[in-house]
Amino acid sequence: MRDLRPLAAVLIATLLLAGCAPSGAGSPTSASGTSLTWGVTTEPQCFDPHRSTQQNAFIIIRNYVDSLIAKKPDGTFAPWLATRWKISKGGTAYTFRLRDDVTFSDGTRFDAKAAKVNFDYVADPANATDAASLLVNYRRSTAPDPHTLRIELKKPDSSLLESLSSVKLGFLSPASLKKGDTLCDASRSLVGTGPFTVDGYTRGQSVRFAKNPRYDWPPGHSEHRGPARLNTVTYRFLPEYSTRAGALSSGQVDVIEGVQPLDVPLFKDVKGFQYLTGPSRQTSFTLNINYTRGPGADIRVRRALRDGADLDAVVRAVYRGTVPRAWSNIGPDNSDYDASLKGSWGNDPKGANRLLDEAGWTGRDGDGYRTKHGKRLTIEVGYPQPYVRDNRDVLIEALQAELRQNIGLDLDLKINTAGEFTDQKAHGDWTIYPNTLNPLDAGMELRQVLGSTEFLYGNVRGYDRKLDAMINRALATTDLDERRPLLARIQRRAVDRAYIVPLFAPHYQIAATDEVHGLGFETQLDSPANNYAVRVGR
């Protein structure tokens, strides 16, 4: 099935370019100027900000959920529901001054007590929320007066501000929190402080939002104040790339999220349309190599794998120049990205072959792969099926072909289930795990994929203690001057020892008719921003 998609896309693209379809100009949906329809890739499994685990769910959730602070593109933070904040000397107490004019959409007041109830709820293990992972160091919060919130930590945690700017730690009204589990359903009981409110939901089809007329508390760096400009916003779930592109081309939707490389020419620099790409601050799509297992335990093999292919060419061939190849697993637009890595590795088949010769992989089998003591040089890439998307499996296959040809290494791609991978994690016997992480603080991201206590290395014996210590030190300091160089050193060590092979830096794509204005991306999420700034019209 998958192999047919590019063909279908070509077919559609050809027909649309040939003028078989009416253009989007004067589209029926945007006629009123106050309503907007999105075509999006993903229907959230859960609409509760604290419980949702899907990156693409947050694009939608952001319409009704605000946070304490907002992350700005330069990596610093802007006021939002908190107007200013102070961090104690030891880094274990944060005091926030809250706005005094904020209400939830059910009319109740947002104050320090409401914020405290939210954090206590998330941190309580009994509620088993996903967002609890952001509050591992949370001790408690107090509300000395209605507009002062004090958060106390068990130990210093430099990722806290980033976590507080995340939609996952956004606020729901204390009354709706009491409904617990049922908040996953997109019903009117999902009460936040955001610029829109839930207006209707048809599972499998669409979710609709209405403007919150009282809204007047956008993030500090917003361009306008007061309520949103649109009256209603509809998100139509269209998981198929070609369907979304066709729906936009024919004016059935105003904006789409997720444009496959083949469809980009339909909208980019085309009259009547606009095409935007988001930042890449999340982790790049990266091969994480288990450096304690099998052939991957040998640094020479890992380095050969890292340098044995012309990654630039592979990424360009698969994505047609729409995405940059990656140099670090931290995204190139992240303020903690180590730019010195650029150009420092890769595309050296000669050196890679020398390394493999040195490592004793000198034999060759009938298929042309290298062998040692009669055993083929094979490393399995276990890629859980639910995470396979936007041609990432094709990219790995392309890399596989290059490595086979260039250095005789068998990069064995196996699409497995989430369950199989979970099992490998539990035994610490995964070999290569390809992934990207949801945007988090860079220190947290590095700990997630390289730290000794987290999901990848939690059950692996013989992890790099020095690297682990560096990560923990980076997370414990709130001193940016110490932290940033430390994060850079962690990235360099991981790449130098080829614990990771970063492949490409993914970003969100938006295409829209040219009548839609104010589209943008949210820094903390990398993903399309909510519809607060959006308007429709000539």
Partner: protein
């Protein structure tokens, strides 16, 4: 149980020799087998799901681990109990009409599946109608006719059966929605939003049914009794519709019943291409996430559908083939 009463009626109506107790006994046996099938399906699905690698609580926690996360999740869903206890507990709740709560969606399975059931049933029925209608028209119209006409029909049938549903859907969308604008994707409900998906899902089935039906019709038209009918001066159309078709339908109905059950599989793709609500997408995510309560509910539903369909097929066969009634 509607299947039971439905099963009982025709036997009582048509079989003059079958007394009421016999009919009742037959109906009761049907119901008992039906329940047995559903129980077996649920149990097998339960065992298979638990035998699949990976602990449910680990999958639910995903990559965002924190100390105690697995334990909290396991406690929340009662996954820390032995599998047998969980199974018995599931059966007990099922017997009380409680399908449980989805792990991933955290909503009542009955409401999730219930919401999605009607769109899928609607799609399946519409697709079946398209398939049967087209197959009847094409087969009756072309059986035993001039060679070029039959060849054309054969090619059309072959194309329809071998075209992947995904392709067909995209093609239809391109022409009739994006191109001509007749069936907007954004139409919320109603017939307009059903036409393209139903044709997409129904066309391959129509191709196969039509092939089988034409062959069966052609065989029937060769039979001596058709010659007798023709000798009575009955017109060709009436010969086909009234006499041959009824005779030729039996194999088609058996095949059709089986295919309707299979439509659920095709529905997954159709629903994805058209962004339609339905069980397909829900099932797919549930299986990959090991969302046991949802998968079990869908399995039960599918088993129920098969029981109902096979009962219906038997009844329809009784109606069109009098020879079966005396047995």
């Amino acid at each position: 149980m509607s299947a039971a009463t439905a099963a009982a009626e025709p036997t009582a109506d048509t079989g003059t020799r079958a007394s009421a107790p016999v009919a009742l006994r037959r109906a009761a046996a049907r119901v008992a087998t039906g329940i047995g099938v559903m129980w077996a399906a649920a149990t097998v699905a339960y065992v298979v799901l638990h035998a699949m690698p990976g602990k449910i609580e680990d999958i639910l926690v995903g990559d965002q681990t924190y100390p105690g996360a697995q334990e909290a999740v396991a406690a929340e869903w009662g996954l820390d109990r032995p599998p047998l206890v969980q199974y018995l507990d599931y059966l007990w709740r099922l017997a009380h009409g409680d399908l449980g709560t989805s792990y991933a969606m955290r909503q009542q399975v009955a409401s999730v599946v219930g919401d999605q059931l009607w769109p899928t049933v609607q799609l399946t029925l519409a697709a079946a109608a398209v398939a049967v209608g087209l197959a009847l028209a094409v087969a009756v119209g072309t059986a035993g006719r001039a060679r070029p006409l039959r060849a054309l029909a054969s090619v059309a049938e072959l194309v329809a059966t071998s075209m992947p549903v995904y392709w067909l859907g995209i093609l239809l969308l391109m022409v009739f929605s994006f191109g001509l604008g007749w069936f907007p994707l954004t139409a919320d409900s109603g017939v307009a939003s059903l036409v393209l998906p139903a044709v997409t899902l129904g066309l391959p089935m129509a191709g196969l049914l039509s092939q089988v039906l034409r062959e069966s019709l052609e065989a029937t038209l060769e039979q001596p009794f058709i010659t007798t009918v023709r000798a009575r001066g009955v017109g060709e159309t009436l010969v086909r519709l009234r006499h041959a078709l009824r005779h030729a339908l039996a194999p088609v109905i058996n095949l059709g019943g089986w295919m309707i059950g299979n439509l659920l599989g095709g529905a997954v793709i159709t629903e994805t291409v058209f962004g339609r609500p339905g069980l397909g997408a829900v099932t797919l995510t549930a299986v990959t996430n090991k969302d046991v309560p949802v998968v079990l509910a869908v399995v039960l539903l599918a088993a129920f559908a098969y029981v109902v369909i096979s009962t219906l097929v038997d009844i329809v066969n009784l109606l069109i083939d009098p020879r079966l009634r005396t047995r």
